[in-house]
Symmetry: C2
Subunit: 403 residues, 2 copies
């Protein structure tokens, strides 16, 4: 991490004026598992948001997109265990009702409340459980970590981070959480992510910076190539730091941008590392592409290739599968030009195998983090993507089924 | 099968004037496993061909594409165990050398010989094994079945078929073989396929009909979404039936077209059924799409969704994953309009769950063939795709690795 910022505790409740709370309302079948959460600011926030581009969009996504139009908000209520997707008019009604329940609980106008749902597709939300659960939630500025846990589905661990840095010479904070695990592919990666900050930020610039940061982080993650119906990333900026609102001209804009990118890239990596069944995190760095868009295609292609993901699981430096995935990605590709590195070891040069140190290559495949670098030798485009291996665990997670 | 044609034995050597032969030359590590094969016609043929669209194209594909330019050919020599891909100038030289060896063996000009290779990417062909093996091959019109076996890689069984039907009132034949199993995705599905016929066919019409048949068959198969570097489909028409060469105006053109489509669709289904680790064949039928291209997108999307493939493996009628895959395919999609059927049982109507007979739905998921029908209610576009489930077997096949 650059010395511009340092990590602090409490993730989304680290910035001034944010509180969170959770409860187990029984939507998930396992009794006592937290499945309902609220994140709220003491004062209205400027809000930015990025959502799934899926043609099947869950009711809470439709609600968020509508409410984002005026760029204001103060809270989000989230349940896990049910995605409220493919639920028709009733589902949309239930999403609105969910925000009304939170509004009553918080003493706010419903229009200031966003909502998200994650879990199984195609079943109506059990509204009686939400009606009973939302009033029970106890809010605290120390409950950010619990919020990160309550939004998990098949995640094995929460993903959360907060940074402290300076704007106009004064300490400010940015926090974030995300959930991931399955149905993970750009655009966006399947996930819910919430970011909070006490920095004052102009709305248009906040939205643009969020979109750019998401493109280079969450949208560069794939677990299984399955795009989700519920992807949501929201940022709440409550301005309690009292700075002149940030925009592109502000002298500290770059600091905020770097902090935002640090958090979103960290959370993206953690999501890939905790993919369903994953035993290895892979980072794919493509350089020398014709342009950035081509680099993105090539880098993502490895994260979505079951054949390469299996080789990764087995620790097999099978560069033929790397080349096959990159070459079929749609990027410009000269089959007599590309180089491939596993870790620090070059495996292929000018499209062909070279003599390499086999012990070094095997060692680079053996750990729980594997770095692949592809140089296409066609231009200056670069991109980094993150993914994981494909294991029995993924299949068990998604095929074991009891009527 | 329509009564227009009936099945006969010997697949690619069923048509008059075709012979095949195989040997075990030791390219595959397992001694004694057939890995080298020749298919030859007694007389020159009109040849049609369709190849991978991958940007990393194996040397034999480059050779075939060059030799197809004059539309003439008489034989193909094929090895398994090594793909001769990502092998540079040396690889291209070896592909030409492979056809020279076959030409010497057969007493033909090298320009009339095509070649294919399938197996691992990134290693040079062991030419000394080909030099020793090709002269050993014994050719016979009864060895079509052995040819189908020699081109297998991780296939568990050969895929082959021949049909007899009438052109100008006289019995003619069309035979085909294919290999599949892994790295299987359009365009084309990863595969080698060879078709033979004694029917005389005009070159341009043969090429067009082959391309159309491949689009509706091999290009509608996916095992793992990984596109191959070596896909090759060749058809050899030697004209020994003595008919007026077929073209679009010939009164029996439709009979030939139906026979070609019957064989390619049969082989496509068999390839999906024998996908690496597969326990179930799935057939996806999409109707009511805006147009055929949209139907193709939606149908293929299910064959490439690991999440749905896992549900299929588990016998789980998880229609939310079906809807999520179809909705993210890029086809036009009205989330309040689509219907989903599993077998004969309707599971979703107008984008939402309906009360359905659970026993019936579970029974429809339980067998080794599962039919999914999606009606998008947006137009008249239809398409059918084939795929398989995702199991531990796929992962074991592709991740177990010994240095």
């Amino acid at each position: 991490m650059a010395e511009l910022f340092h990590e602090i505790d409490h993730c989304v409740t680290a910035p001034q004026g944010f509180r969170a709370g959770t409860t187990a309302c029984g939507i998930k079948s396992d009794a006592g598992i937290k499945d309902l959460a609220i994140l709220v600011s003491d004062v209205p926030c400027t809000v930015g948001g990025v959502f799934t581009t899926h043609n099947l969009r869950a009711a809470p996504v439709l609600l968020c997109q509508e409410r984002l139009q005026d760029g204001q908000g103060q809270a989000v209520v989230v349940n896990s265990g049910n995605a409220n997707c493919a639920t028709g008019e009733q589902g949309l009604h239930n999403a609105y009702r969910m925000t009304e329940l939170a509004a009553t609980k918080l003493g706010l106008a419903p229009e200031l409340i966003f909502c998200s749902s994650t879990g199984i597709i195609g079943r109506q939300l059990p509204m009686e459980k939400l009606e009973a659960g939302i009033p029970q939630i106890e809010l605290s500025s120390e409950y950010g970590d619990a919020f990160a846990e309550a939004i998990m589905t098949t995640d094995t661990r929460p993903k959360r981070l907060a940074l402290e840095f300076e704007i106009e010479g004064q300490a400010v904070r940015l926090g974030g959480v995300t959930k991931g695990a399955g149905m993970i592919r750009p655009n966006m990666a399947t996930m819910l992510s919430y970011l909070t900050t006490d920095v004052a930020v102009e709305r248009a610039w906040l939205q643009q910076e969020l979109r750019d940061a998401v493109n280079d982080s969450y949208n560069m993650v794939s677990v299984d190539g399955d795009m989700s119906t519920n992807d949501t990333c929201l940022i709440f900026a409550n301005g309690l730091a009292g700075n002149t609102p940030l925009n592109a001209q502000h002298p500290d804009a770059e600091t905020f941008r770097q902090a935002l990118r640090y958090i979103t890239c960290y959370l993206a990596r953690e999501m890939a590392r905790d993919g369903e069944g994953a035993t290895k995190l892979q980072t794919i760095h493509v350089r020398g592409a014709r342009d950035k868009a081509d680099a993105v295609l090539a880098a993502r292609s490895l994260t979505r290739s079951p054949l390469w993901q299996c080789a990764l699981a087995g620790g097999d430096p099978n560069w033929g599968r790397i080349a096959a995935a990159a070459g079929s990605s749609g990027c410009e590709f000269d089959q007599n030009a590309f180089d491939i590195f596993i870790g620090e070891t070059q495996i292929a040069a000018k499209g062909m195998a070279i003599d390499y140190d086999q012990d070094q290559a095997h060692a680079a495949m053996a750990g729980d983090e594997v770095l692949i670098t592809i140089d296409l030798h066609l231009g200056n485009g670069e991109a980094t993507a993150w993914g994981c291996d494909l294991t029995h665990g993924y299949i068990d997670e998604n095929s074991l089924y009891t009527r």
